[in-house]
């Protein structure tokens, strides 16, 4: 028997091995009562830093494509890019969640270990090549997410969010598998690229594509929070512990997109997705943009608002599946980097507001800017960037996606872009509503019990700075890099 493939696979998946080993080590170490929480936290951070460092080395040197573990995962720049991104997201989340979770009576170690596990699942989501791996890792991320949403198990909201999440999640992943079984029936393979190659030689009725696509999209759309499967989103975002919400709004969502890209690339190929598939995507993304933005207008709760904003952003991101060229994939990668920066930043501000000032909705934040101007300025930077206004990074990310979509100009893409621009204008209202409440209104006085922790302030400032800096300095290299990483 030839076992070289295992050796090669293990050599190229050192970050994953580090994360697995680290998770087990953190769980083991937590048995010893005399070890402080800070120590465990530092261990987890060290694991992520180590994994990130190895990935960084790999990503610089590696070009080309390898298939590891008998076709289970693809090892290429695309998967390395997402590996890096997810490790970064997990690291930032872990960093700013520490001030919140260190005071929990229970669930500290669970949070750390589940976050690490979830990161592992996301990494594998972005590199899976078979239906089996896709479903497995989707479930991996989902199951860890369910638990993380319910970590505050004596809090009614938290546990309720967890239940709603698992009901939607379990149902939609089952539906997805049902669709995949039809593709398997036609092609006799579970490898997406083999499936695609076989499908191209067959002359199947369009109705088959339509039905199968709708079924499969259920699972992906639920993870990406696009419209027909977005119902869990506001409730889970509101109920889950805020650091966890921050993580949900970036990590698993982007992982869903990464998996979707590989799936579409495998089954339909670049630039040639069938008309039905385009039609489905134009419907769901337009609906996402409309529903996300319009519902967000009526929201008062900050986390709910961010949930709807996230749905709208998923709609913008899903636009790229209309054309699905190398450019549009690159622009999606760029979008996901910028989106993570802005969203994580915005959630840090929400955490500070919640933890130190006890503010969780727009009304009660009236006049807050005079108490903590630094935070208010950071928040407005993130908000403006989320709208996509010029001096901030969000502008470019949106612009690039729109540009890459509009290239083969036809009435479909034109319609989609039109809706996207209009809803972007609409979104200005609710983002500005927050900023307006903080700066323009008079409000009560906000008392603070302790100084805002540096571990919250510093990442917030850095992310805000990054949002501005990417616009001002030469951002081309980042986009070029993203493009080189696209499939």
């Amino acid at each position: 028997m030839d076992y070289n493939w295992i050796e090669t696979g293990l050599q190229l998946s050192r970050p994953e091995l580090l994360i697995i080993g680290g998770t087990v080590a953190v769980i083991m170490l937590s048995i010893f009562k005399q070890l402080s929480r800070t120590f465990l936290f530092l261990c987890s951070c060290a694991i992520l830093i180590g994994a990130g460092y190895i990935t960084l080395l790999d990503i610089q040197s590696y070009t080309g494509q390898t298939i590891l573990f008998k076709g289970a995962i693809g090892y290429d720049k695309f998967s390395l890019f997402f590996k890096m991104l997810f490790i970064a997201i997990a690291f930032i989340t872990m960093l700013f969640s520490y001030p919140v979770i260190k005071n929990w009576t229970s669930g500290f170690v669970e949070f750390l270990s589940l976050l690490l596990c979830c990161t592992l699942g996301m990494i594998y989501m972005a590199s899976s090549r078979t239906f089996l791996m896709m479903f497995l890792n989707l479930e991996f991320v989902s199951i860890t997410s369910y638990i993380m949403a319910g970590l505050l198990r004596h809090n009614k909201k938290s546990i309720e969010a967890s239940l709603k999440y698992i009901i939607y999640g379990a149902g939609s992943s089952g539906i997805m598998l049902f669709g995949m079984s039809f593709l398997y029936a036609i092609t006799g393979s579970i490898d997406v690229y083999t499936v695609g190659n076989t499908l191209r030689h067959l002359d199947l009725p369009n109705s088959f594509y339509l039905i199968t696509s709708i079924l499969i999209l259920a699972g992906f759309a639920y993870k990406m929070a696009i419209v027909p499967f977005h119902m869990w989103c506001p409730d889970v975002y509101e109920g889950a512990p805020t650091p966890v919400t921050a993580f949900f709004s970036t990590g698993p969502k982007i992982a869903g997109f990464a998996m979707m890209i590989r799936f579409v690339d495998g089954v339909f190929g670049k630039g040639s997705s069938p008309f039905e598939w385009q039609l489905i995507f134009i419907i769901v993304s337009v609906l996402s943009m409309l529903i996300g933005n319009l519902t967000a207008l009526q929201q008062n709760n900050l986390k709910r608002l961010m949930a709807y904003s996230g749905i709208a952003h998923a709609g913008y991101m899903a636009l790229i599946f209309l054309t699905f060229t190398q450019d549009s994939i690159g622009s999606l990668l760029f979008y996901s980097v910028i989106y993570s920066i802005m969203n994580l930043g915005a959630f840090i501000t929400i955490i500070i507001l919640e933890k130190y000032y006890n503010i969780d909705n727009i009304q009660s934040s009236a006049g807050f800017a005079y108490t903590n101007p630094f935070l208010a300025i950071c928040l407005s930077i993130f908000m403006f960037s989320l709208v996509g206004l010029p001096p901030f990074a969000g502008f470019f990310s949106k612009l690039l996606v729109f540009m890459s979509v509009i290239k083969p100009l036809n009435y479909l893409t034109l319609f989609a872009i039109l809706v996207a621009v209009i809803t972007t204008v609409i979104s200005l209202f609710y983002y500005v509503k927050i900023i307006g409440a903080m700066f323009l209104k008079q409000g009560g006085n906000f008392t603070i019990t302790e100084r805002v922790s540096l571990i919250l302030n510093a990442p917030m400032a850095i992310l805000a700075l990054a949002t501005v800096a990417i616009f001002i300095t030469d951002w081309d290299w980042l986009f070029e890099f993203c493009k080189s990483c696209s499939l």
């Binding site: 295992i6 696979g9 697995i20 998770t23 087990v24 769980i27 590891l68 573990f69 008998k70 076709g71 289970a72 995962i73 229970s106 669930g107 669970e110 270990s113 589940l114 596990c117 592992l120 699942g121 594998y124 089996l132 791996m133 497995l136 890792n137 479930e139 991996f140 199951i143 860890t144 369910y146 638990i147 319910g150 970590l151 198990r153 546990i159 967890s162 039809f182 029936a185 036609i186 006799g188 067959l202 199947l204 009725p205 109705s207 088959f208 039905i211």
Partner: protein, 170 residues
């Protein structure tokens, strides 16, 4: 058609009808416990179908994991989340004609697929038990999923224990 095939057909239809009826009961029964034990019928009949399809390992796994594991868990959950003095636990549902219509349309669409699909696939029944091949596959093609699954189960274990346990008094 030989006697052997007739026998297989009879078994198949008996199992299929049992599964159909039981799943109908799961969807509509108004008694919580009856619902759970209807699920038992579905699981057993499906296990039988797997056996008929020569997926013998799946047959055992279905009974072992689903019947011996999941269903017992479900029944425990029912018992732990109700006042169990009453045998006739009601199991309400909010059915509306819209839902029924949508599900019927879904069913029609799926039946359409089921009837057209076999035209596009080459049908050729394999009559070999697969247990050994499954074992080999778990160490070659499915090695990575298998290992990931173990990490997933670890995460599940941590999470489920954390969520379900009683608070430890210190």
């Amino acid at each position: 058609m030989s006697l052997n095939e007739i026998l297989l057909n009879i078994i198949f239809y008996a199992l299929a009808l049992t599964g159909l009826f039981s799943s109908f009961m799961v969807a509509t029964s108004t008694n919580m416990v009856r619902t759970a034990f209807s699920l038992l019928g579905v699981l057993f009949s499906f296990a039988g179908l797997y056996g008929l399809l020569r997926a013998d390992f799946l047959f055992a796994a279905q009974i072992l994991v689903y019947v011996g594991g999941i269903l017992v868990l479900i029944i425990f959950a029912i018992m732990l989340t109700h006042k169990i003095a009453n045998v006739n636990l009601s199991n309400e549902s909010t059915s509306s004609s819209t839902v029924i219509a949508v599900v019927c349309i879904l069913f029609a669409v799926l039946v359409f697929i089921a009837l057209t699909l076999p035209e596009y696939i080459k049908i050729n029944q394999r009559n070999k038990p697969l247990t050994e091949m499954i074992g080999n596959n778990l160490l070659s093609d499915s090695l990575l999923p298998f290992e990931i699954l173990s990490v997933l189960l670890l995460a599940c274990l941590i999470g489920a224990v954390y969520l379900a346990r009683k608070e430890v008094k210190e």
